[in-house]
Amino acid sequence: MSFPLLTATAALPAIGAIATAAVPAARRTAAKWLALLFSLGTLVLAAVVFLRFEPGGDRYQLTESRAWIADFGVRYELGVDGIGVALLGLTALLIPFVIVAAWHDADPLETKSTRWRPTQGFFALILMVEAMVILSFVATDVFLFYILFEAMLIPMYFLIGGFGDRAHAGSDESAATQRSYAAVKFLLYNLAGGLIMLAAVIGLYVVAGSFSLSEIAEARANGSLEMATSTERWLFLGFFFAFAVKAPLWPLHTWLPNAMGEATAPVAVLITAIVDKVGTFAMLRFCLGLFPEASKWATPVVITLALISIVYGALLAVGQRDIKRLIAYASISHFGFIVLGIFAMTSQGQSGATLYMVNHGISTAALLLVAGFLITRRGSRLIADYGGVQKVAPVLAGTFLIGGLATLSLPGLAPFVSEFLVLVGTFSAYPVAGIIATSGIVLAALYVLVLYQRTMTGPVQESVRSMPDLRARELAVAVPLIAVLIFLGVFPKPLTEVVNPAVEHTMSDVQKKDPQPEVEAAK
């Protein structure tokens, strides 16, 4: 067996987490640099994976397989397809930025440095999440995936509940209460989803006798595995519920605004840009891959929910008074687009959804991290506490605007490509759904511009008058992200190249063909 590249990519941040946690209490800065170093190392490995991946090759590449729990046929099976590669890259790319952006977030305040080595813990938890997310993107064994899907809740719980936003409006105590409320809500929602999924995982094993994606697919292909329609539907629902909580889809979304509002901006990025992607990714790989018939059966409902998410999320974003909650609701709207693209079951929709996951990750990271810099400066999350920032901190305002424009899918920036693909893909299969979803672009403009107008323009508020502009560290976060957004907006080919074959596989899984254009069909 060749060098286990995927294991190494996932193991490196895990080792980094342990190493970071072990740094002595007094060497805070060393811990930060160590964490950054490990995340960059992971990025290098991810790049190697990306380069080694051959778009025209097998469906799953760089596979590894070892026996794990032999009695239940659980194997440690890894492998990446194009979608996995794209999301693996996204995760590895974003984590260094998250770490740099969170550089001072976990410094113990001089007055209350009671907690035991918070800095080390914080960065170790981030690396832990990275390791689990990466492994879940490459796991091709359902059980292995399930374990990771659940396990990543633990570090996330501590990141949300333990390291909240210092810039909370209320007193420290009420901040702590709200924070732990948010963390518990996050945990309970996702655990509930995971529990139902566990039932479905066990059910799948009972029916299929295996946890391996490739074995199940093979068995279905050669007809040795026949699933009763109702069984397939129930199993599908079990899986889908968990992913819909994670994604999050209306009406299972309410944990997200709480969690994102209370967590620090980098942790919020971790939630929405990285961890939640596991949900949508899993819909594509597990729901569609394992239960194609049931997926088709559920499509009308899922599409309806996705449309509600899009419009509802956007409308609620307009009504928010808190910057981070606004972005959270915007994310709900965007997740609606992703789910829409997945379940439209057209090549464009699914390619678009995959690109959307990557692009949404980057654009939300850009917007949220800059918003985080803003919030740290003023110490408030309320939109009403800002005004005229553009005048005192033009670079901050500019990067914020670009992040916002990416969020509203301005052509030329990466999210446009994916959003348009999703819309086209949906429209060609379900025209009415496509048109309703298109109204999302108007609403997106509304909430982004309202946010920008209220915070950045107008007369300079007294409280922001002495606000400093972005510092070198913050620029090092914002500028590369924006550069990636522009690059992928103009030249998304490197991504579409790896995604396209994977989408073809998924399309053949669900045995769907793209609708023919009318004119060609007539010929």
Partner: protein, 631 residues
């Protein structure tokens, strides 16, 4: 030669990137760089133009394929350019007028500390606008379409510290987004119908599909055009957009960007030709806006807003012409070009006046300025004559042709449209004369402002007057140049097609009627504003006047229905989310908590109680075992 096309876009794009990322060290030289790159783009345009003139009419179109943009199964979007006569016309207009306005801005923005950024935005606008007109597919056009929207947003809100400017910028972007939604739906319809959205294949096979689809595509394109070109019902942003610096109003909101809708309709001519229903809607929109804008223009005292109403109205002419089909396409473009000259000139003149009057915009506080600003007076005056269609000047030729084409539409429609166009011409003459009289004639009416500074009207610097002179030159001669010998028709015919049509009235009759309308309009204006002094405080006016001052209550309607309604909707949704969606979840949590509280009482701490439950449990297990064995 094709390879030069990308250079058209690259030059201003580079300028935008350098100026916006360059930082403070470019503050001193930034404006020169921006202007130079705009001029470079113009020069490239001229080179391509001369090259094009040297070729036969049929093979003038140039194509450049840069790279495959979004290659996805069954979906091909390329970054590819197409430069034909229609695009060429726009390229020259955009880069030409754009360069002039860059030069003008050097003087106009001299005292603004953020001048570098202003030039960066202007360059960004040029790049986006050029992408819009030279794209070879609808998706790339969409990129430019939104790009100019962005530039417009940035420039309207350039003075962001003014809340009105920030609001106006947001409004412009939002209303445009509604239009953009139309464009993207149109593109999606094209994709499902034709499997592609490149101009070539779509327009060639336009008649192979059903009428219904084409009408839908056409209407969606019209929605897009309405948003961008400020046509009813999406016109409300244009008046507010005057919050931006005047060069912006001249370039974006008069000469170029707002005419993108006309370009879109003319470019998609093949689709509209095959969808008469859509065409009918187009002409109705054009005709309504024509009158709407004119009426608004009559009532405004703000010089820029009066001109904005006029722009709306003139674009109404163009849309009207574009809706007439092959009869009108060429004249729509021709009016667009001449309008680009004289309206830009008028705006620059207005800017010059404001520059000399401490940024005062109320025409009632001007008066008699011709003595103080002779150059401005003359160039503004020439632009005025051009727009009202004074015989021999640019506007005369282009507008006259449109009115003629409207009559040539034939039937009742033709008569109605023609009459509306004529009426519009009369109103145009009225409000433009009003502007002219209130600004340059009569007694001086300015007073010291609140700080006690009395304005000292003076002529603007050379950098501002030279562009005005050039544009005035264009306003005077462009129309005649285009019209004589049907130069413009021959130039564009290979792209848009041309159909002379059969007018029920002879050309001479139409011209006569136009002149009569013109005289009537000027006469009424003279009667109202020339013979007697203009009151400094606006009289209350009739119901129509008051409504027109408020943009015919369109904003009030928007406010009540959309803004208020939206606010209520979002607020109630926030409530629903909190108490209903979240409430269900929290309710479940609370009931589980309550149940646990009850259950907790079973754990009373008495060992004997626990023993009973253990014992009972054992009994149940044994009973179950026995039963299982029994069964």
């Amino acid at each position: 030669m094709e390879n030069l096309i990308a250079l058209l876009v690259a030059a201003p794009l580079l300028g935008a990137a350098v100026l916006l990322c360059g930082g403070r060290r470019l503050d001193k030289t930034g404006h020169w760089l921006g202007t130079a790159l705009a001029a470079a783009s113009f020069v490239v345009g001229l080179i391509l133009f001369t090259d094009m003139l040297g070729k036969g009419a049929e093979d003038r179109a140039l194509h450049q394929h840069l790279f495959s943009w979004i290659p996805v199964e069954g979906f091909q979007a390329d970054i590819a350019f197409q430069l034909d006569q229609l695009s060429m016309t726009f390229v020259l207009l955009i880069t030409g007028v754009g360069t002039l306005i860059h030069i003008y801005s050097i003087g106009y923005m001299e005292h603004d500390e953020r001048r570098r950024r202003f030039f960066g935005y202007l360059n960004l606008f040029l790049a986006a606008m050029l992408i819009l007109v030279i794209a070879d597919n609808y998706l790339l056009l969409y990129v430019g379409w939104e790009g100019v929207g962005l530039a417009s947003f940035l420039l309207i809100g350039f003075w962001q510290h003014k809340p009105t400017a920030a609001t106006a910028a947001k409004k412009a972007f939002l209303v445009n987004r509604v239009g953009d939604m139309g464009l993207s739906i149109a593109i999606m319809l094209m994709f499902t119908t034709f499997g592609t959205f490149a101009f070539g294949p779509v327009l060639e096979s336009a008649d192979e599909t059903s009428q219904g689809k084409l009408t839908a595509i056409g209407l969606m394109l019209l929605l897009a055009a309405c948003g961008k070109s400020a046509q009813v019902p999406l016109q409300s942003w244009l008046g507010d957009a005057m919050e931006g610096p005047t060069p912006v109003s001249a370039l974006i909101h008069a000469a170029t960007m707002v005419t993108a809708g006309v370009y879109l309709i003319v470019r998609s001519g093949a689709i509209f030709n095959a969808a008469p229903d859509a065409q009918l809607v187009v002409v109705i929109v054009g005709a309504v806006t024509l009158i709407f804008g004119a009426i608004v223009g009559c009532a405004k005292d703000d010089i820029k807003k009066a001109l904005a109403g006029s722009t709306m109205s003139q674009i109404g002419y163009m849309i009207l012409a574009a809706g007439l089909g092959p009869i009108g396409y060429i004249f729509a473009i021709m009016h667009l070009v001449t309008h680009g000259f004289f309206k830009a000139g008028l705006f620059l003149g207005a800017g010059s006046v404001m520059h000399g009057m401490n940024d005062e915009v109320d025409m009632r506080k001007y008066g008699g300025l011709r003595k103080y600003m002779p150059v401005t007076f003359i160039t503004f005056g020439l632009g005025y004559l051009a727009i009202i269609g004074f015989p021999g000047l640019s506007g005369f030729f282009s507008k006259d042709k449109i009115i003629e084409a409207a009559f040539a539409k034939g039937g009742t429609e033709g008569w109605i449209l023609g009459s509306v166009a004529l009426l519009g011409a009369a109103i145009t003459a009225f409000y433009m004369t009003r502007v002219m009289l209130m600004t340059f004639f009569g007694e001086k009416r300015w007073q010291p402002d609140a700080d006690g500074h009395e304005p000292h009207p003076h002529e603007s610097p050379k950098s501002m007057t030279i562009p005005m002179i050039v544009l005035a030159f264009g306003s005077v001669f462009a129309g005649g140049f285009f019209a004589i010998g049907d130069r413009f028709v021959n130039w564009l015919e290979p792209v848009t097609g041309y159909d002379h049509g059969h007018s029920p009235l002879s050309a001479a009759t139409v011209t006569g009627a136009t002149v009569v309308a013109l005289v009537i309009g000027v006469g009424i204006a003279w009667g109202m504003y020339g013979r007697k002094p203009v009151p400094v405080v606006a009289p209350r006016g009739s119901v129509l006047t008051r409504a027109a001052r408020r943009d015919l209550l369109q904003d009030d309607f928007n406010h009540v229905v959309l803004v208020r309604g939206g606010e209520h909707l979002t607020r109630s949704l926030v409530y629903v989310d909190h108490s209903l969606v979240d409430g269900v979840v929290n309710g479940t949590a609370a009931s589980v908590g309550g149940l646990s509280g009850r259950m907790r009482k079973l754990q009373n701490g008495y060992a004997r109680t626990y023993a009973v439950s253990m014992f009972g449990g054992t009994a149940v297990v044994i009973a179950a075992t026995l039963l299982m064995r029994a069964v």
